[in-house]
C-alpha cells in the first residue's frame, strides 16, 4: 500500500471514535432537553411535555442570583490574581534559565496535579491552625492558587513562540524596559493572557471540591447545585441552572480557543 497523503481510516476505527465522541457529548445535550420538561418530581424520559415556565421561575429565585453573584465575584478576583502571578512566573521561567527552574514549574502545577480534596483539606487545616474565619477571601485564596497554572501554561506557550530577538531589537532601537514591555511584549502575549484569563474564570466559576472546604456557610453557584444534587428541592430549577452553567462556561472556552488557535502563524514568531 502506498501512502497517498490522506489515508482513509478503517471503518472500525471510525465507528469507535464516533461512539467515543457521542459518549462525551450526548449527556450534555440531554441537559438542554430536561430544562424544558413539564415533569416536576422525577427524571422521567421522554419528557411528558415541553414548557419554558421554569426559566421564569428560576429568574425570580433570589438564592440563585445570590450564588451566581458570589461565583462571578470570586471568579473575577481569582482570575485577576492568577493573571498577575501566572504571567510573572511564565516570564521568569521562559526568559532565563536559573537554578530551581524545574521546581518552580512543579510548584505551579502541583495545586492542579494533586487531587482537589488535598488542596481543599490542606487549606481548611491551615485556616483552622491559623484561626482564620471563612470569608469571601478564603474562597479567593483557594481559587487563585489553582488558577495560576492555567494562565501560566498559556503564557509560557506564547513566550516560547515569541522571539527573544524582538525584545533585543526594541531595546536596540532605544526603548526602555517599560516601553518594550508595553509596545512589544504585551501585544505579543495579550491574546494568550486573555485566553488564560478566560479559562481561569471558567475553572474558578465551576470549582466545587476546594470550595466546599474554604467557603464555610457561603454558597457559590456550584455549591448551590451540589446541595440540590444531594437533597433535591426543586428539580426543574436545577435543570435550568445546569443549562445556564453549560452556556456560561462554553463561551469563555470557545473564545479562548479562537484566541490561541492561530498562534503558529503569528508574524515574527519564528527565530
Amino acid at each position: 500500500m502506498r501512502s497517498d497523503g490522506s489515508p482513509s481510516a478503517p471503518l472500525g476505527l471510525k465507528i469507535a471514535a464516533a461512539c467515543g465522541l457521542l459518549f462525551l457529548h450526548l449527556p450534555i445535550f440531554l441537559i438542554f432537553i430536561y430544562a424544558f420538561t413539564t415533569e416536576e418530581r422525577s427524571f422521567v424520559w421522554p419528557p411528558p411535555g415541553l414548557t419554558t415556565q421554569w426559566f421564569a421561575v428560576t429568574w425570580n429565585r433570589p438564592d440563585v442570583w445570590q450564588s451566581l453573584s458570589l461565583s462571578v465575584r470570586v471568579a473575577a478576583i481569582s482570575t485577576l490574581v492568577a493573571l498577575v502571578l501566572g504571567t510573572l512566573c511564565a516570564a521568569a521561567v521562559s526568559r532565563t534559565r536559573f537554578f530551581g527552574r524545574e521546581t518552580i514549574s512543579l510548584l505551579v502545577i502541583l495545586p492542579i496535579a494533586l487531587p482537589g480534596i488535598i488542596t481543599g483539606i490542606a487549606l481548611r487545616s491551615a485556616f483552622s491552625l491559623a484561626e482564620i474565619p471563612f470569608s469571601f477571601w478564603t474562597i479567593v485564596l483557594g481559587h487563585a492558587t489553582f488558577c495560576v497554572v492555567v494562565v501560566y501554561n498559556n503564557a509560557v506557550a506564547r513566550f516560547r513562540r515569541t522571539s527573544g530577538s524582538m525584545i533585543e531589537a526594541s531595546m536596540d532601537l532605544g526603548a526602555d524596559g517599560f516601553q518594550t514591555f508595553r509596545h512589544v511584549v504585551l501585544p505579543n502575549i495579550a491574546t494568550a493572557l486573555l485566553a488564560g484569563g478566560m479559562l481561569a474564570f471558567a475553572l474558578s466559576f465551576d470549582e466545587v471540591i476546594v470550595t466546599t472546604f474554604t467557603a464555610g456557610q457561603q454558597q457559590t453557584l456550584p455549591i448551590w447545585m451540589l446541595e440540590e444534587l444531594i437533597r433535591p428541592r426543586q428539580r426543574p430549577v436545577t435543570n435550568v441552572v445546569a443549562m445556564v452553567v453549560v452556556l456560561v462556561t462554553l463561551l469563555p472556552i470557545l473564545v479562548a480557543y479562537y484566541l490561541t488557535r492561530d498562534g503558529d502563524q503569528i508574524a515574527g514568531s519564528g527565530k
Binding site: 501512502s3 449527556p27 440531554l30 422521567v44 501566572g86 532565563t96 487545616s125 447545585m225 444531594i230 436545577t238
Partner: protein, 321 residues
Amino acid sequence: MTLTAAQAKPAPALLPRARGLRGALSDLFWRRPKLLLLLMLLPPVLWLGIVYIGSLFALLLQSFFSIDEFSGLVNREFTLKTYGDLLQAANLDIILRTVTMAALVTFASAIVAFPIAYYAARYARGRWKALFYLGIMLPLWSSYLVKIYAWKLILAKEGILTWLLAKLHLLWLLDAWLSLPIVGGNSLSVSSTGTFIVFVYVWLPFMILPVQAALERVPGNLVEASSDLGASPGQTFRNVLFPLALPGIVAGSIFTFSLTLGDYIIPQIIGTSRLFIGQAVYSQQGTAGNIPLAAAFTVVPIVIMGFYLWGAKRMGAFDAL
C-alpha cells in the same frame, strides 16, 4: 553598581539618556537581569509557597495530632495514634475500594480514549482536526457538576437508559446485571457500576489529550512500513503503535488515577453508601470534626500518587504531557 543611568558616563552617545526614576529602573533591570528575575518570581513563589505549600505542611502537621475522644477537640501534641486509627479494617477497606476503582477507571478510559486519540492524531485534518479538538476540549471544560447531574438524569430508574433498553427489549440484561453482588444495586444510579461509568465519562478527556499528543509524534510511514513488512493490523498495533503510545497512556493515567483517588462528589451522588477515600476525608473533617484523621487519610493518596509519579517518570511519561 550604584550608579544610575543619569550619572553614568554616556559612552557612545547614540541614545538619549534615560530620564527619571523610570529610566533608572529600566537601566537597572537591564544591567542586572537577576534582580528583575527575582522581582518577577517573588510574588508567585511567595503566594504558592505560603498559601499552598504552607497549607500542605499544616495538613501534614494535623495528621500527627489526635482528637480527644471526650471533648472532641483537637489535641495539639505529636502522636502516631491517628495513623494507627487509619489502619483499622474499615478504613483499609475504603482505601482498597478506592484504589481498585481508580485502576478500573484508568483501564477503561485508556480503551475508550485510544480510538478517538488515534483518529484525531492520524486521520483528522483541517476542519475535522479543529472539530475533534473542540470535541474533546468542550466536555473537558464544561461544568463538572453539570456532567454528574446529566448522568443522574441518564441513570435514574425512570431515565433515558432504562427507556432505551426497554425499547430494545434488553431490560432483562440490565436487571441481571443489577442483581449481581458488588456491581449491582437498586438502580444504576445507586450502584458501583454507575459510579464507574461517571468516573470514566468525567475523566476521559484527561486521557485522550496526552494519548493524542503521543500518537501525533508517531510518523504515519512507520505504521505503513509495519504493514508493508507483512504485519497484520493487530500485530502493528501490539508491536508498533501501542509501545509508542504507552508514555501518553501513562501520562493520562496520572490524571485519571489521581482524580479518582481524590474525588468525593461522584460516589456521593451516584453510587452506593460504601465510602471512598474522598468521602471519608470529607465526613471526618465535616460531621465528625476529626481533622487529624481526615488529614491522615489524605496522606494515603499523596503517597500512592508519589509512587505512581515516580514509576511514570521512569517510563518517560512526562515528555508526553
